[in-house]
Symmetry: C3
Subunit: 298 residues, 3 copies
C-alpha cells in the first residue's frame, strides 16, 4: 500500500518497504517526528509486540521506548528467550502475537518475512529489518537526521561509504534519497560497489566535497581472504585528521554499532551526528507508531 | 474461596481452581469479558508479575497484553532468564514478587504450587497452569469461546477429543461444563480415557452429532511404544474432509499449539474457532484482572 | 553533586554514592517514600531502563515496580539476554540506553562504573550496586526501614552482623548511620571486621542490647578454608531461641536473599522486619524516581 501525505492511508497500515513511501509520505513522517520531540501521551492501552528472530538491541529498544513515551504498553518475544519463537510455525507465531497486539515490530533473517506476516494478519506489521532485504525505519531516521543536520536534502551532496554491495541500510537510504534532488557519491572497496553503479570516488575526495557522509561497517565475514579485509578497513576510516579536510558543517552519520570505521577521536566534534542520529530513531519510530495507531482526530 | 456472581467476593481473591466458581461466577466472567472487548483503562499504576517456572508463551503473552490494555504495568520473571526463579526457595521468591505486585500470575510444574503461594502472601495469585493440576483461566476462555461460537452451552452436545487421561485442559473444561445442561462426548485412544468415565465414541460419530468439538494434543511422550503413538495420531486428525460430515455450524476449538491434530486445510473454514479462541483468552484475562484488581465502583 | 533537603538539587541528578547525601537529603527521601505508599501516577510517558551487568532480581524488580506504580514505562537490558550488553563498548552501550531513557538504573561488577556512566551522558544514572563499591539505594531503604521499625535512629543502638569486611551493604549503611547520633555494634568473624574499627562484640551480647540487628550473609567464597566457613556460619545464626534474649521491640533486618543466617522459625515473629524491608525498597525507589524525574510543581 502507498503511504503518502494523507494520514488516513497510514492508519492501520503495515510498513514493509521504503518503496511504499513517496516524498510526501517521507515528509509527513518528518513533521510528525518533529512533533514527537515534545509530544504527550496518545496511545494509552495500546500494545506493541516486538518479535525479533535475531538480536538488535538498538532497534528493539528504540521501538520499545517510542511506544512507552506515547503511553502505550510493550511485550517482547526474542529468539533467545521465547520457546514460541523457536518451536512454533512462523504462521502460528504471527497469529498469536498479532491477536494480542495492536502492532507487531518484526525482525527476521529471511527477506520477505514481514510481507508474509502482513498477509497472515490484519494487525499492522513494521519491518525492523529482514536480512538482506530492507530496514525502512532505519532509512527514515537517516533521512530525518540528514534534514536536521544539514538543513534539507535538495541540492546537497551526500557520500555513502563502506560495503555498499551487501549493506541493506545503504540500499534503503539510497532509494529514499532518490526522491530528492541530491548528488550521491559512492565510496566502496573493489567488489563491494553499490549495485547498478560503477562510479566510485575515493574517501578523501568524497570527504572534501560532501555535505554529509554516511559511513557503514565493512563486515569481515563478507571476505574470503581476511588479509584483504585488514588491508581495506584502514583505508575507510573516518577520523579527526581526515575530517579536517571536510566542509566545516559536513555531518557524519553511522547506523551503529561501529567497529572502527569512525575513530572515537572524532566523537566530540560537533559534526559527529551519529549519537543524535540514534536518538532521532526514537522520534521517527514515535512518528510511525502515531501515524499507524492513533485514532482519527475529531 | 467461592467466586460467584457477587463482584465483592472477587476483589483481591486468588484464582486457584475452576472449582471455586459456580455458574453465576462463570457468567460474571463472561459478561465482564464482553465489556473488555471495548473497555478503556482501569488499572493505571497497578503491577502484574508473571512468574513462569516453565515456558508458555501464549498464556504469558495474553496475560501481559490483558494487563497492558487495562492500563496497568507488567514485570516478567521466567525460568530461563531469572536467577531468583532458579536459585531461591519458592517461598522467598513468592514473598519477593508478591510484595512488588498487585497480582502474581504463576505457572509451575508442581500441582498445588499456586495454592501454596496463596498461603504465603495476601497478594492475589492466578493459577496459569500447575503441571497435571489445573489451568482455570484456560477453561474459562474455552467456555467463553463456546458460548460466543454456538450461542450458549445449555442443550448442546460437545465432544472432547484427544488424550483425556492426562490433559488438564480437558479436565478443567469438563468440570466447568458440568455446571451446564450439556451432553459431553469423549473421544480418546484406549488407555487415555477421561477418568471416571468409560463411554467413548468414535471421532467420526462425535463429529456427526456435536455442536462443538474440542481437540487437544495427544502427547508423544505419554507413550512407551512410539509405534502405538504413530498409529493413533492419524486416527484423531480433524481435517476439511472429516468436517464435511459435521453440522454446518459445528465449532472446532483447540487450546494451541497444535501439532497436526487439526489440518491447516481447515484453517479458513468459518467453523475453525481456534484462532478466535486464542484472542478470547485475552478478553477473559482482562475480565479476571478487572474483577480481582479494580477498586469498588462508587 | 550534593543531594540535600532542597528538591531542586535532585531533579535530573545521578545517585552514585551515599556520600552525596547529607542528613536533610536522607530525610527528604524518607518523607517522599512515605508519600509513595499512597501516591498516584506522576511519571506517565517517562522511561526507565534497567541495565544489569550481573543478576539481581530483587533490586531490578523493585525498581521496575516502582516506575510502573508511578505510571512510567520500563525497559530491561540484562547480561543474560542482551547482545549489546555482551558485545559493545560500555561507553557506547551507555550512550544507547541513555538516549532512549529518562533514567538508567545500572548494576555493574566494577566499582566506579556508574560514575563513569554519569560522565558519558546527561541522563541521570542510579547506582544499583557496583561490585565492592556502593549500593546507595539499599542503604536508603535500610535506614527507611529502621526509622519505621524502631521509631527513629537518634539515640538507638544498632548491631551490624556478618562479613563486615567485604559487605558493601554494611559499609554504605554504616556511612549513612553516622549522619545520626547512633551507637553501632559490630559482630563479625575474625578477619572479616568492618574496616577502620577493631571493636567487635559477640552476637549474644549484641542481641541483648540492640534496638535493631542488621544481618548480612557470610559468603562462602570469601574463605580459603571451607572448614573455617562451616565453623563460623553456625555461630552467626539468628533464630527464635536467640531472639528470646533480645529486647521486645528489637527489629531484625536483612538485605536478602538469606542463606541460613536467619532461621525461618523466626519469620512469623513481629520483630522479623526483613520482608517489610523488601517492600520498603519499592517505596524508597519510588521516592528516588519521583525526586529525580518529576517536573517542577507549579
Amino acid at each position: 500500500m502507498l503511504l503518502g501525505g494523507d494520514r488516513e492511508a497510514w492508519r492501520g497500515a503495515s510498513l514493509l518497504s521504503i518503496s511504499q513511501l513517496d516524498r510526501e509520505g517521507v515528509e509527513l513522517v518528518m513533521r510528525v517526528a518533529d512533533n514527537a520531540r515534545t509530544e504527550s501521551s496518545l496511545l494509552g492501552g495500546k500494545v506493541l509486540c516486538s518479535l525479533f528472530y535475531e538480536p538488535s538491541t538498538r532497534t528493539a529498544c528504540s521501538f520499545l521506548a517510542a511506544m512507552l513515551r506515547l503511553g502505550g504498553g510493550t511485550m517482547s518475544l526474542h529468539e533467545s528467550t521465547s520457546s514460541a519463537v523457536k518451536g512454533e510455525s512462523f504462521e502460528d507465531t504471527i497469529r498469536t502475537v498479532s491477536c494480542y497486539s495492536d502492532v507487531v515490530v518484526l525482525r527476521h533473517p529471511t527477506p520477505g518475512a514481514p510481507r508474509r506476516a502482513s498477509e497472515i494478519t490484519k494487525t499492522p506489521i513494521i519491518n525492523a529489518g529482514d536480512g538482506t532485504g530492507e530496514h525502512p525505519t532505519q532509512a527514515l531516521l537517516d533521512v530525518y537526521t540528514l534534514i536536521r543536520e544539514i538543513g534539507g536534502i535538495d541540492g546537497k551532496t551526500i557520500a555513502l561509504v563502506g560495503d555498499l554491495k551487501h549493506g541493506r541500510t545503504a540500499h534503503s537510504l539510497a532509494k529514499i534519497l532518490r526522491l530528492y534532488d541530491v548528488a550521491l557519491l559512492f565510496v566502496s572497496p573493489p567488489g563491494l560497489e553499490m549495485p547498478g553503479t560503477q562510479e566510485v570516488v575515493s574517501l578523501e575526495e568524497a570527504v572534501r566535497v560532501a555535505d554529509a557522509i554516511y559511513v557503514t561497517r565493512i563486515q569481515r565475514e563478507r571476505f574470503e581472504d581476511p588479509g584483504q579485509y585488514d588491508s581495506l578497513k584502514g583505508s575507510y576510516k573516518v577520523d579527526a585528521a581526515l575530517m579536517a579536510t571536510a566542509k566545516p558543517k559536513c555531518a557524519v552519520l553511522h547506523p551503529l554499532p561501529r567497529v572502527d570505521e569512525i575513530s572515537t577521536d572524532f566523537d566530540d566534534d560537533p559534526r559527529a551526528a551519529y549519537f543524535r542520529q540514534m536518538e532521532n530513531g526514537m522520534y521517527v519510530r514515535m512518528a510511525l507508531l502515531t501515524l499507524i495507531l492513533s485514532p482519527p482526530s475529531k
